[in-house]
Amino acid sequence: MNSLGPELLGQLLDRHVPALTLLARGWCASAEDVVQEAFFQLARQRECPHDPAAWLYRVVRNGAISAGRAESRRRRHETEAAARMSVWFQDSPDTAIDSQAAAAALEKLSSEEREVIVAHVWGGLSFSQIAQIVESSASSVHRRYQSGLTALRDLLGETCPTNELKKNCPTN
């Protein structure tokens, strides 16, 4: 095996697979395959990347964009969007926001805002790391992050996002 040991690979799997899958879902339906392929590419590297997590996010992002272009979105987007939304987050009653509402709100964001939010909130990447992945500046990334959070606040504020209010609000 190359310099990327199994322990490190396992840690990366445990830490980043959910966020990477969520990131890939923003572009394509075959998010799991894209994430798998990214880990295979990482395992095949002769030298471990300087920042394996950022490397994975970049590879998954590029792979998901390519996969999304290959998919026929016009025919499958509407039918698969609902299926995608239901598996974006684990359903938990303890969360402050309804998982499906959050997924629907994330779906409505632009891809630039969504990828920044996913990478920072669930991936734990810094703005500078995200800037390198998306080939932009850290300030631009932060602006997208703020605008994305603002949009989510507005979207989540229109519906009944909290689980506490679910009982009182009529479901769709």
Partner: protein
């Protein structure tokens, strides 16, 4: 550090949204951790055969549970060695052809730089030499039938005197092909009256 400073600039309401979002756990979907570790390990061993691994895993669906990478994992060490060598085949071939091109170009320039001069050396005219057979001895007074032979004779006499005349022409006038041509000695004697 710069990220911490930027996060401090977030309004409280956005911080609340961020905190709420962090409470959600992304679903892993159908990604099987143990299976992914196994396949990644095999992929690292088969790093020299990317086509077989990608072909095995490109369409792999964890939900279907197909383990097509197992067939690709049976490569022997010899095959791996050959695969490693073949990776350098094209670069080596390119380098060899470039070297050959440079060598031939240099040789071409070197050869063209050395201009070959072909000198045409004409045989030395025999103006200063008297033909041995003196077949063309001509008379003193009469114009020679061939000006060239007259000039030869004149030059020879001017350079070496009368004695330069071949004795054969004098002693054997009958051997001269042109018996009608006058001989110098007899002409001399006639003129000088000796």
């Amino acid at each position: 550090m710069s990220d911490e400073r930027t996060e401090e600039k977030l309004p409280d309401e956005l911080k609340a949204v961020e905190t709420a979002l962090r409470g959600l756990t992304p679903a892993t979907g159908a990604v099987d951790r143990d299976r992914l570790m196994y396949l990644a390990g095999r992929a690292s061993v088969l790093a020299d055969e990317p086509s077989s691994v990608s072909g095995a895993t490109g369409g792999l669906s964890t939900r279907a549970g197909r383990d097509t990478a197992s067939t690709a994992g049976r490569a022997s060490s010899g095959t791996q060695r050959l695969a490693r060598i073949s990776r350098f085949a094209w670069p080596l071939a390119t380098a060899a052809l470039v070297l050959l091109s440079l060598t031939l170009s240099g040789r071409l320039l070197y050869i063209s730089g050395r201009s070959e001069r072909i000198l045409v050396v004409q045989k030395a005219s025999q103006r200063d030499e008297l033909p041995v057979a003196t077949a063309s001895v001509v008379g003193f007074q009469s114009a020679p039938s061939g000006g060239f032979s007259y000039m030869q004779l004149r030059n020879a006499v001017l350079n070496r005197g009368v004695d330069a005349l071949p004795a054969q022409a004098v002693s054997h006038p009958a051997s001269a092909p042109n018996t009608n041509a006058p001989h110098w000695p007899s002409l001399r004697d006639d003129l000088l009256g000796s």
